[in-house]
């Protein structure tokens, strides 16, 4: 009976996520920035200054996104740099079907995921949560909350961690995650469902008490 109730709760959790996805409205026509188009055309003709302008325009946004993939300042700068170098190399393939920032975000997500997979050797399954992670407080400082969440998601495997990072930090829906990673929406939904379950189990095993919050 309890198992059935738990299963029903899990399904309703997933249904809520799917309903939220269906509600999300996809922009029919993406908004393009004229300056971007001019600088992209210039970059394609070999104008280095035009590409430097694009980098300066979007490096803040990309740094913010890469901050979800690492808390190490030096690694973050390397990752941001890698994103822009890769973007330049792939620029001839940019069809301008989506705004430049969306396209950059896709490259950034894949770069971050690649970085995690490279460092995944350090990751071990079913590791016990440290006392700090097992005892989530009510955070009022965003950087403390981000630090806690980063540490918690670090306990998951790279694929689960990516899905939850995009869901929690970037507030992406499954459509957006699927688009960024080139995965199917069904795969994203299944991964999100499993990852949340895994996270719940980790917290419960670590002695997370409902009354404590």
């Amino acid at each position: 009976m309890f198992a059935y109730a738990l299963h029903w709760m899990e399904c309703s959790d997933m249904n809520a996520m799917m309903a939220r996805d269906n509600e999300s409205v996809r922009p029919a026509t993406p908004v393009f920035c004229v300056e971007d188009q001019r600088d992209i055309a210039g970059s394609l003709q070999g104008d280095g200054e035009a590409y430097a302008r694009l980098v300066r325009r979007y490096q803040g946004e990309i740094a913010r996104q890469m901050g979800r993939f690492t808390r190490d300042r030096a690694v973050l700068e390397e990752l941001v740099q890698e994103v822009f170098v890769e973007a330049y190399m792939s620029l001839p393939g940019y069809k301008q079907k989506a705004p430049f920032l969306h396209w950059l975000r896709r490259i950034a997500t894949r770069t971050g995921y690649r970085h995690w997979k490279k460092t995944a050797r350090q990751w071990k399954e079913n590791v016990e949560l440290s006392d700090t992670l097992a005892d989530p407080k009510v955070y009022s400082e965003p950087s403390e909350a981000a630090e806690y969440l980063y540490g918690l998601l670090e306990q998951l495997n790279p694929a689960d961690r990516l899905v939850l990072t995009l869901l929690y930090f970037e507030e992406c829906d499954t459509y957006e995650i699927a688009e960024r990673m080139g995965w199917s929406r069904t795969l994203v939904k299944v991964r999100a469902f499993r990852a949340r379950n895994h996270l719940r189990n980790l917290l419960e095993q670590a002695g997370f008490r409902k009354e404590a919050v």
Binding site: G48, Q59, E77, M89, Y168, L203
Partner: protein
Amino acid sequence: MKTPLDHIDQIAACARREAGPEVDVSAAVMQELRHKMFAQDRPLILFTAGSMITAAGAMAYSLIIIHALSNPLNVLFELTPLLGQ
């Protein structure tokens, strides 16, 4: 009563407000791109340089040969006085 995931949702909402770090990678990106472009063009540069050196060598060799060759008409002019006799 909140479940662990409800609490994590709450923490995530707070974490999203975190400001991004300030970085300036434009100079480093441009430097790396210049380096990459040079590395990408290197085989072509080497091939062009090799072709130029070969062409210059061939030209020098042919000039030496041309100078070494005697005028074939010289033989005729050497014979002409004999024919006149």
